[in-house]
């Protein structure tokens, strides 16, 4: 599973293999929301940092970034993981570039697999990605990561903005000039409802549709 990381000349294969085994052991039996084994995530993150020029320490930190503190005794890896934790906790300090690169790689893989998380979370993560992480990636000089993050976040926001098909269907009977506004309004209302609430909402909309049409044409 990690042969592609073990054959890179600038990385120390035995050290990386040890970190991988620790991570594998810890994530045994855990699944991602996508249904993939959890270990696929740290491995992908490690690959992203290795492609961006990360050294052995950073690749090991990437493999272990979702393990509890103390999983590794390597002080350099631990320093990066502590920095990452402090960054997530919002501790005000200037993190070292390796910590930021790991943060970006973690987000990049999460954005690549974002269709598996809840729509509200997709929107929140995408907005945060565009506001904070894309500019950060440009500052760090990792342009490939910056542009992929930006593309993924914009695509996720477009998907999230898109009204549910049932509302677009109901909207088809409205006058063309009014359609977009009402469909967007209903989508905004429906987003906070549960499954049953949505069913009732749509049913009530359909029942009220003749009156709405009269009101809009008057």
């Amino acid at each position: 599973m990690i042969t592609h990381l073990l054959t890179r000349p600038h990385l120390d294969a035995p050290t990386i293999d040890r970190a991988y085994r620790l991570a594998h052991q810890h994530h045994e039996g855990q699944l991602r929301r996508s249904g993939d084994p959890y270990i696929t995530h740290p491995v992908e993150v490690a690959t992203i940092v290795a492609d961006a020029g990360g050294d052995t320490t950073l690749v090991c930190a990437a493999l272990l970034h979702d393990c509890p503190p103390g999983t590794t005794s390597d002080p350099d890896v631990t320093a990066i993981l502590t920095g990452l934790q402090r960054l997530s906790d919002g501790v005000p300090e200037r993190p070292q570039p390796d910590v930021l690169l790991l943060k970006l790689a973690d987000r990049l893989h999460n954005m690549r697999t974002i269709e598996h998380v809840l729509p509200g979370t997709q929107r929140e993560k995408s907005v945060e990605t565009l506001r904070a992480l894309v500019p950060l990636a440009y500052r760090l000089g990792v342009r490939d990561i910056a542009s992929e993050l930006s593309l993924l976040a914009r695509a996720a926001l477009r998907r999230a903005e898109r009204a549910p098909w049932v509302l677009r269907g109901v909207g088809m009977v409205l006058p063309a000039g009014e359609r977009e506004r009402w469909v967007a309004e209903w989508a905004g209302e429906m987003a906070v409802l549960g499954w049953w609430g949505r069913c009732r909402f749509v049913a009530a909309l359909v029942i009220g549709l003749p009156r709405l049409l009269v009101a809009l044409r008057s």
């Binding site: 929107r123 967007a184 905004g188």
Partner: protein, 108 residues
Amino acid sequence: MLRMTLQTRLLLGALLVEPDRERYGLELRDLVGLATGTIYPILARLEKAGWVASTWEDPAVHEAEGRPRRRLYRLTPDGAARAEAAIADAERDGHRTLSWGTAERGLT
């Protein structure tokens, strides 16, 4: 001329509680106890007649809450005056508008 139905008066009554506050459709539905299918046609008529104005929610608010934007309604100054007059007229004629229970009794 705006047709002043009971449902319209109920909705106006709800908008008059805090005339400066912007309200969204579901919020009004819960305040007034009418079906969503009834609320939107009334809001559309009131907006066409200039009694209410609507705007999209500030992106800073809905993005922070991680949900799509809402359409927000409030009475226009002119609409607020007319709404108060319409409700006063109806009450003088013996209709009650404040809640469903009293409204139903007012109708019988």
